[in-house]
Structures are given as structure tokens and as C-alpha cells.
Symmetry: C2
């Protein structure tokens, strides 16, 4: 059931995107749904890809960045050179993500500190108001 192809509307509901978005991603070769006559049908593969696309976006990657990454996930890298290149990109991206993770930890720490200060001030104000 969960691997049955979905219509464009079902996709939109499931991933909270608009039809325009899905068709746009298709022109960018991020998705390649089947066609039944005219209509698009999105299979398991496209759903997995869309998950990765949206995740990538949440981290500020461009659609072009994401397309490169998807090539790594697409196991059909026919020849060795292509595959080697995909692995290169993957390693680079991994390093980048780890750096981003470190930065995110720092940002979380900063914000936590700042927030503690803010809450402290509020508490002080509350006491002063009595």
C-alpha cells in the first residue's frame, strides 16, 4: 500500500507542497514520475527523493546542490568515473555537514545562554514589580 504510486494531489497533501513545486522540480530533473497518459504518478523512488530534497532545503541547499547529492543516492551511477565523482561529492558534503553540525551546536549553546539571561531579566522584573 505504502509503495503504491501516488497522484500529484496525494503527493502535495503528503509532503505539503504545491503541484507547481512538483512540476518545477521535474523540470529541474529532481523528480521523474511515471506517466499514465498525461498524468504523473509518483512512485517510492520519487517520494524518497522528495524527502531528501525537502530536507536539503531546510539546510539552505540550492536545488542544484541537491541535484548533485541525489546523484550519489541514485545507485545507477553507471560507470566507475561517475561513481568516483559521486563519492567525492558525498565526502565533501559529509565534511560540510559535520562542520554545520558543529556550528549548529555552537549556535544552540549561544541561544541557550542568551535565553537564560533573558529569562533571568524577566524574573528580576517580576520580583521588582511586587
Amino acid at each position: 500500500m505504502t509503495d503504491a504510486p501516488m497522484t500529484i494531489r496525494e503527493m502535495c497533501a503528503a509532503f505539503d507542497v504545491t503541484p507547481r513545486t512538483l512540476r518545477f522540480y521535474e523540470t529541474k530533473e529532481l523528480l521523474t514520475p511515471e506517466r499514465v497518459g498525461q498524468r504523473r504518478l509518483y512512485g517510492k523512488r520519487d517520494r524518497a527523493r522528495l524527502t531528501l530534497i525537502l530536507r536539503g532545503k531546510r539546510f539552505g541547499l540550492s536545488l542544484e546542490d541537491i541535484r548533485q547529492l541525489l546523484d550519489l543516492y541514485a545507485r545507477d551511477s553507471v560507470n566507475e568515473a561517475q561513481m568516483r565523482r559521486a563519492c567525492e561529492l558525498g565526502r565533501a558534503r559529509l565534511a560540510q555537514m559535520q562542520a554545520q553540525r558543529a556550528e549548529l551546536d555552537e549556535a544552540i549553546a549561544d541561544l541557550t545562554t542568551e535565553l537564560a539571561w533573558g529569562e533571568g531579566q524577566l524574573a528580576r522584573l517580576a520580583r521588582a514589580a511586587e
Copy 2:
């Protein structure tokens, strides 16, 4: 020394941005450099803010999102209501960042797995080539 005000060029060199970008951020009220006559001078505060701005961007935040966040970091939230609101936003953002962190960890795990598979394939190809 490190807290001496910087010119726009020095800022550009230090943060790897263009003058246009700094002026643009100013129109968006993200930066508020001093003026000496016409020229801008960026102090410690603006440098700190710019650091946060660029960090925010790396995580896909819009400039408007970032402006909201900077309000929290700006300790001059005059009245209590404003301050309370800033803390609200901060807590929400913190939760969001923690979620993003979890997602990032997952993405890193995925990519690591995928990469291991890819490297494995390459190794297999290398052995087969002998």
C-alpha cells in the same frame, strides 16, 4: 585593537562579503554602523551581529527571520512585553534548532551509509579489474 571600528572594505575582507551586501543589510535594519561624515564605521556590535547573520544564513534562515532573532540578542529590549516576546521567539527558535540538529544527525547517518556502500562498490570494481 580588535574592537577598533572597521571601514566597509575591512569588513568585506574580514567576512568575505561585498559592500553592497553590508549596505543592503543596513536598509533591512540588520546593521546600524556609525557614521563619520558620510562613511560607515562598523564597531564590535555590528561585527557580532554580522557573524550571527551569516551563521543564520548558512542554516537557511531568511534575513527577516534573522532580524527577529537579533532582537533577542539586542539587550536593549526596553519594556517587559517586548522582552517577553523576544524570549518566546528565542524558545521557539531553539526548539527548531534542536529539531534541525536531530535531522542533521539523521542526514549525516544516511550519507555515511550511502558513502560506505559507494566506496564498497568502488573497491569491488577495483578488485574485479585485476
